[in-house]
Amino acid sequence: MAGVDTEFAIPINLDVHLLTIIMSGRYPVIASMNSTNTDVIQGTLDMLILKTLSLEPMHGFGIVRRIEQITQNVFKVNAGSLLTALQRLERYGWLAADWVVTQNSRRAKVYRLTQMGRKQLQNETADWQRRSAAISRLLKAQA
């Protein structure tokens, strides 16, 4: 768990109808979010989770931490959305889970990516790249 302590992280509003982000404070607090575009966020969250788990299997809180770390606190994840998403992805068969005892002798449910999950990740990544390329072209276009 990287204890990246960034003071007054400047929020970036990616106002492209893809995400809304809420400002983070002094502590790496996971703020509760009122998700307004839940379906869009849900789709992106799935991809983030799949990608994170493709690096290594981990438990729920670990996924939150890792996402924050990699995206340098740009994306904050809501606990309820994450846990629900994990349930959903497991139901779909993209993740598999086991209860293990972590090194701090606490029980935790660790998720890992399945074969189907890997495939899904590939599809979603390709989809995302196609879309963001299109948007970049749009933004670059002159009058």
Binding site: D5, F61, A79, L83
Partner: protein, 897 residues
């Protein structure tokens, strides 16, 4: 995202709810633990870290709920939860539950029962291939004012040769015959038909063969087919019956086949199927006494078939000679024309109207019951207002509350539907066992898949309907008011009572409609009973039919002597006051019509005079039946044996032909131009032989033995009914004594139609009786439910306004004023309901016009009487709770909270 995986997982979680919940709880706890550890790693104390975690993540319970709520099984679980909760609530208030279920079950049961009757009689198609191609071959003869003219052999032969629109046609009739040769002659029912009948219906024999054209040849061997029932009961299902012989009325007949068990045709009973054999060479234009059925070619419409028959009818005239005493021109003047109709419509007849009226009636009763239950549910929901407000304040969506309320009403509806289905099953069993009404196609009336579907859909629809009413009022409670709970400063608001008052108005209006229809039916029934049917004291007239065949007694005069000997034997029986003979009993089934010429009138060359109903009688017939003799005298036996040409006529015949009964005496009439003139020496009162709701036909009474009648040298009635006036009519010992008396003269005659004239009379009125009974029951139930509704409403409002009444009484209002105000509120509602009901009844009553007899659908007496009694009953229902209000102790009322 496979569906299978979703289903499997969902089921697993559903069944092992606890395990799944624990799993999620553990995961959430572990998440919290990790978060806390993370905070501690940043340097917070354990206590601060825990607090920070809670602030960041919120309540672990809320998080748990959020995660848990994923998955379709949660919806199912929610439904089960609601169901359990609903059942518990319903069990907690047994009074309400039982009353609602019983009320609703009665309404649903009645509706389901009537629907199953309609399904069996009107909706189910006939059990033949392509039943829409089957046509009943009726004709009409406007020239002699016959609306429905039967089939004749001459028409059948022509159609068989020439028809272009039909695949095949058949001529048929039904009746009884006797199997002799085994000791006592056995009476059996039979259908007589030409050989095309079974192929037209698409019926295949289960044993042996069908009839062929050769079986219809009068010169060929006689053949017969057995019904499955007869085959099993008399031959034990023995397959070797083929080729064996039966003696039918002294003729040797060969059995060639057995019909399948499912065979039925036009609701006629048939033990045997016997070919109708006509000698074509001897066939003439007359004898329109049969029935015809045909199958249209595919794609041919009824109109085209009508046109085809219309084309063939002139050909009939050309190919067959008129009977003796008539000319071909007479038949042309009769203007016989086609009058085809579908076999289904012929079978069902005009009962459709009555059934739909009954259906509407029970539907209205159901609506009234629903209004009652909606009222009860409103009261119930009002009692729960506080609870619902708290739940809404805590965050329950109104859909959740609405779902719960709806569950309650749907549960009530489904349970009531099941009970109602059981009730209707019992009612149908009762109906079929009681023989109260002979409905066409009665065999088809049963609880089948369609009826169950109808019951399900109706109970759910109805329960959703009355369930919506409390939802609309109470699912989104006004939180502030409701939480304040009753309110010190508030009394019952007007708004609350508006919906309930509206429901009561609707109930009263519907109840009035039903009461009006019942009242009209009661008057109809009374009017029908006022009509003089042509006999008196029907319970004392016994009838029995015999038929003396040619083969047994050849000479006509011997037949008459035999009949008279039987008469003498019967009059010797103890208790018999008077006995006579007739060819057809009043309101029995054997009717015959023919033209009558009067000597003192002139008829244009070759035209037919009007047809009259013919009956053949012996002396004392009118005395036995109790018919009035208006002029002249009755027959005497010497006149019969001398075959003196005489006749009697009914009153309407006398008035139509000569103006008055007295004027008819001495006039002479005959039926064909070749006959002797017969002198009319008696006029009797009208006989409503077609039933009291139809006009009495004009009748001519002939002696049972005549010479030179209908262009034949001698005419004797071989198929006759004895009518016997005795107080012992209908009893079994009398029946045995009659049988002995008849058989002492001729032991080879089976007896038939042993019944009293009262039975015939009741049977002719059975449709009206049934409608009356059902409408009266429905009207009674509607009145009861409506009164209960009013009582409930007023009573409840009184209990809500106890404070207000207490205040008023304390301030000095006279008790009478308070009571009057309450009664007035109830009466206003009833009056509004009455007015709406009157308007609706005026609009709807003309729909039942065909069921009424000599009373108008807007009969003022009925309307006034019913609305008057309804207002009276409503006043009583309002008065009872008002009296309770008057007993309120002001001090108690003000103190109570």
């Amino acid at each position: 995202m496979s569906i299978a995986r979703q289903l499997v997982r969902g089921f697993r979680n559903l069944l092992r709810r606890k395990y799944a919940d624990e799993d999620i709880a553990d995961e959430v706890d572990s998440f919290f633990a990790e978060a806390k550890a993370d905070f501690e790693a940043c340097g917070l104390t354990a206590h601060d870290a825990a607090r920070a975690t809670r602030m960041a993540l919120g309540s672990s319970t809320a998080l748990r709920e959020q995660v848990r709520s994923y998955g379709w099984e949660n919806i199912v679980n929610g439904i089960f939860q609601d169901l359990r909760y609903t059942l518990r609530r319903l069990r907690a208030t047994p009074g309400f539950t039982v009353v609602s279920i019983v009320t609703l079950a009665l309404g649903l049961g009645a509706t389901t029962a009537i629907f199953s009757v309609i399904n069996g009689v009107l909706l189910k198609p006939l059990p033949y291939a392509h039943p829409e191609q089957l046509v009943s071959l009726w004709m009409t003869a406007p020239g002699v004012k016959i609306e429905d003219l039967n089939m004749a052999p001459s028409v059948y032969f022509t159609m068989a040769d020439e028809a272009r629109a039909f695949q095949a046609v058949s001529i048929w009739t039904s009746g009884t015959t006797s199997i002799t040769g085994n000791g006592e002659p056995e009476q059996v029912s039979a259908i007589f038909a030409s050989h095309e009948l079974l192929p037209i219906l698409g019926v295949k024999p289960q044993l042996g063969r069908l009839f062929a054209a050769a079986d219809d040849d009068p010169k060929g061997t006689r053949t017969v087919m057995l019904s499955d029932g007869y085959w099993r009961s008399h031959f034990g299902g023995d397959r070797s019956v083929l080729g064996r012989r039966l003696l039918i009325e002294r003729n040797t007949v060969s059995m060639i086949g057995v019909l399948p068990p499912s065979f039925q045709f036009m609701d006629r009973k048939a033990d045997l199927l016997i070919p109708l054999r006509f000698d074509r060479a001897k066939t003439n234009l007359g004898v329109f006494s049969f029935l015809g059925v045909g199958r249209l070619k595919s794609g041919v419409a009824l109109k085209q078939a009508d046109a085809d028959l219309g084309r063939m009818l002139p050909l009939v005239m050309q190919r067959f000679p008129p009977p003796a005493g008539y000319t071909a021109k007479m038949y042309e003047d009769v203007r016989i024309a086609p009058n085809l109709r579908l076999l289904r419509d012929d079978l069902v007849g005009d009962i459709g109207n009555m059934l739909w009226v009954l259906m509407a009636t029970v539907g209205i009763v159901l609506l009234i019951a629903c209004a009652n239950i909606a009222n009860l549910l409103l009261v119930r929901a009002e009692g729960r207002q506080q609870e619902l407000a708290i739940r809404t304040a805590l965050g329950a969506a109104w859909t959740r509350i609405a779902r719960e309320l709806l569950f309650e009403s749907v549960t009530l509806g489904v349970v009531a539907g099941v009970v109602g289905l059981g009730l209707s099953w019992a009612a149908l069993k009762l109906l079929s066992a009681s023989d109260l009404v002979r409905l066409p196609r009665a065999r088809n009336i049963q609880i089948d898949a369609w009826v169950v579907l109808f019951a399900t859909v109706t109970s759910i629809t109805v329960s959703v309907l009355f369930g919506l009413i409390p939802i609309v009022r109470y699912a989104k409670p006004q939180i502030a008011n409701a939480l304040r709970g009753g309110g010190r400063s508030m009394s019952a608001s007007r708004d609350r009572h508006r919906v309930r008052g509206l429901l009561v108005v609707v109930q009263v209006a519907l109840a009035l409609i039903l009461l009006v229809t019942s009242g009209l039916m009661i008057r109809t029934f009374g009017n029908l009973h006022q009509v003089d049917p042509g006999f008196t004291n029907a319970a004392e007239i016994q009838t029995v039919r015999i038929a003396i065949p040619d083969e047994q007694v050849k000479e006509p005069e011997r037949v008459v002597r035999m009949e008279q000997a039987m008469l003498d034997k019967i009059s010797a029986i103890n208790g018999v006051r008077s006995v006579s003979i007739t060819s057809s009993v009043t309101m029995g089934d054997y009717e015959s019509n023919d033209p009558v010429y009067a000597e003192d009138k002139t008829y244009r060359e070759g035209t037919l005079p009007p047809l009259r109903r013919f009956k053949w009688i012996a002396p004392n017939y009118f005395k036995t039946m109790g018919q009035r003799m208006l002029a002249g005298r009755d027959l005497r036996w010497p006149e019969i044996y001398n075959s003196r040409p005489v006749a009697l006529v009914s009153e309407n015949t006398a008035r139509e032909m000569w103006g008055s009964p007295q004027a008819a005496i001495g006039k002479r009439i005959r039926t064909t131009v070749k006959d002797d003139w017969c002198e009319v020496f008696g006029v009797v009162g009208d006989e409503h032989t077609d039933g009291v709701e139809k006009r009495a036909p004009t009748i001519v009474y002939w002696p049972i033995f005549q010479k030179n009648f209908e262009a034949g040298p001698v005419n004797v009635q071989r198929a006759v009914a004895f009518v016997i006036r005795t107080p012992r009519a209908g009893s079994i010992p009398l029946r045995d004594e009659l049988r002995n008396a008849i058989w002492s003269i001729n032991a080879n005659l089976p007896l038939a139609n042993v019944e009293t004239v009262e039975t015939l009379y009741d049977r002719s009125l059975e449709r009206t009786s049934l409608t009356l009974i059902m409408l009266a029951i429905a009207g009674g139930m509607a009145l009861l439910l409506g009164i209960v509704g009013i009582y409930g409403l007023i009573s409840y409002s009184v209990s809500q306004r106890t404070r207000e009444i207490g205040i008023r009484l304390a301030l000095g209002a006279p008790i009478a004023q308070v009571t009057r105000a309450i009664v007035r509120s109830g009466l206003i509602l009833s009056a509004i309901g009455c007015a709406c009901g009157l308007g609706a009844a005026l609009m709807l009553a003309p729909l039942m016009k065909s069921l009424l007899f000599s009373v108008s659908p807007s009969d003022p007496l009925t309307y006034a009487a019913t609305s008057g009694s309804l207002i009276l009953a409503a006043a009583l229902a309002s008065y009872l709770p008002a009296r309770r209000a008057a007993k309120v102790d002001p001090v108690e009322a003000l103190r109570a909270e």
